[in-house]
């Protein structure tokens, strides 16, 4: 993990968001390897987008909010 970006405590707090990210990754992987509903360019794109876009969104939000909160915590300690 990027422990240079977040310290151990922050990473622990962020675990709660790592879990859904992990679940999304699991299903992205499973459906990429074993297409459950056949392959159709349009349908499969929609299906995978419904996994990939929330993944990207949640990852981005977790990172941005994690940085903002850890930064604010450091300011409080000063």
């Amino acid at each position: 993990m990027a422990s240079s970006v977040f310290d151990r405590e922050a990473l622990l707090d962020l675990t709660v968001n790592i879990i859904p990210l992990g679940i999304l990754l699991f299903f992205i992987a499973v459906f990429a390897i074993l297409p459950g509903f056949g392959y159709d360019p349009f349908v499969t794109t929609i299906q995978m987008s419904l996994l990939v876009i929330p993944f990207i969104g949640l990852a981005a939000l977790t990172y941005v909010s994690g940085k903002a909160i850890t930064q604010a915590e450091r300011e409080l300690e000063e």
Binding site: D13, L14, V16, N17, P54, L61, T62, I69, T70, A72
Partner: protein
């Protein structure tokens, strides 16, 4: 009883209730009970006139941009709407006590029941639920984050004042039914407004209903923008992202959800209005299809349920620890997971569509 006698009695009852309200307000100084009165009438004397910028009486309530006043206005409006929605469901439940159409038989029968069903759902969600959360938010968020007021006080006021007209539009069919002899009836589309029924129902009350719903969505979106701007920019020096209270976090997430979902509802409502009145085929079988409405509506509808539940969960997470003297367990977990709900709730709308028959796993 004929219509004119009913109207006369209603007006008389209204006058009587107004007289009761005036008497109650003069019996004692109710404002002396609340320490947050802002040092107005309690300090300045009996006139209640605070300053040139803050008038008293009816003018105050009609023109105030103070967040506490607007919170109270939202609250009063929400309670009145709760009464309407509650009355609707009581009538429905009374009717359902027996299999036969009896209780509502004289009031319009099955059509009236369907109208109540529609009105109860929409009123409870959009005219009670969201406004009562806005009441709590507007009153407490500036106090909790140490701000003077909301970021945009006048937009705050107009956002509230859009609600009474939208309520009148949503409920218009009920009022106009006896006045127009049934030419305009209450909307009988159910609160989810699925086409083809909602597109085909030849009842102008449905159009008024849709317009009112759209107006209330505009109000809610403006409020959401206000909350986001306030929480981001109006925090006091000693309030930062690390020690922001949990209620503010949930209001912030809720406002983000509103920002991205309510405009879509508005668009879908416009499409439905166009289908109904201008012959477009957004939701017609030969055009976009009825399923398109369900996708659009529930893409809004799922974030909507989180819009309704996140702030109350924030209130519980704020109040229980305060009153029990304990810290909230896993405060930062709650913050991050609330934000996660904000993002993830946009991907799951299909779980409202199991009855469409187009999901292979569920037959």
């Amino acid at each position: 009883m004929d219509l004119s006698a009913q109207l006369a009695l209603t007006v008389l009852m209204g006058l009587f209730l107004a007289a009761v309200a005036m008497a109650l307000s003069r019996i004692e100084d109710w404002r002396s009970y609340t320490p947050l009165a802002g040092g107005g009438a309690a300090v300045g004397g009996e006139t209640g006139y605070v300053s040139k910028e803050k008038p008293a009486g009816l003018t105050r309530w009609l023109t105030s941009v103070d967040h506490k006043d607007i919170g109270i206005l939202y609250g009063v409006f929400a309670v009145i709407s709760f009464g309407w929605g509650g009355l609707a469901v009581l009538l429905m439940r009374a009717e359902l006590m027996t299999p036969a159409m009896d209780v509502l038989a004289g009031l319009g029968g099955e059509n009236f029941y369907n109208g109540l069903m529609t009105s109860h759902g929409i009123t409870m969600l959009f005219l009670f639920g969201t406004p009562v959360i806005a009441a709590l938010g507007n009153y407490f968020i500036p106090l909790l984050i140490g701000a003077d007021d909301m970021a945009f006080p006048r937009i705050n006021a107009i956002a509230f004042w859009l609600l009474p007209p939208s309520a009148l539009l949503i409920w218009a069919g009920f009022f106009l039914d006896p006045m127009t002899g049934g030419a305009i009836q209450a909307s009988q589309t159910s609160w989810t407004m699925y086409p083809p029924l909602s597109a085909a129902q030849a009842n102008p009350g449905v159009d008024l209903f849709l317009l009112g719903l759209h107006l209330s969505g505009i109000s809610t979106t403006m409020g959401a923008v206000n909350f986001i701007a306030t929480i981001f920019t109006e925090r006091a020096e000693d309030v930062n992202w690390a020690n922001l209270d949990i209620f503010s976090w949930t209001m912030l997430t809720q406002s983000g959800l509103i920002l991205f979902s309510f405009p879509l509802l508005g668009s879908a409502l416009i499409m439905l209005l166009l289908d109904r009145n201008f012959g477009t085929t957004f939701f017609a079988v030969e055009g976009g299809g009825p399923l398109l409405w369900q996708h659009l509506f529930w893409f809004f509808g799922h974030p909507e349920v989180y819009i309704l539940v996140l702030p109350p969960m924030g209130v519980v997470s704020l109040i229980l620890p305060k009153f029990s003297g304990r810290k909230l367990f896993g405060f930062k977990f709650v913050v991050y997971s609330t934000l996660a709900i904000g993002v993830l709730s946009f991907g799951v709308w299909a779980h409202h569509m199991f009855a469409t028959g187009s999901i292979p796993a569920s037959g």
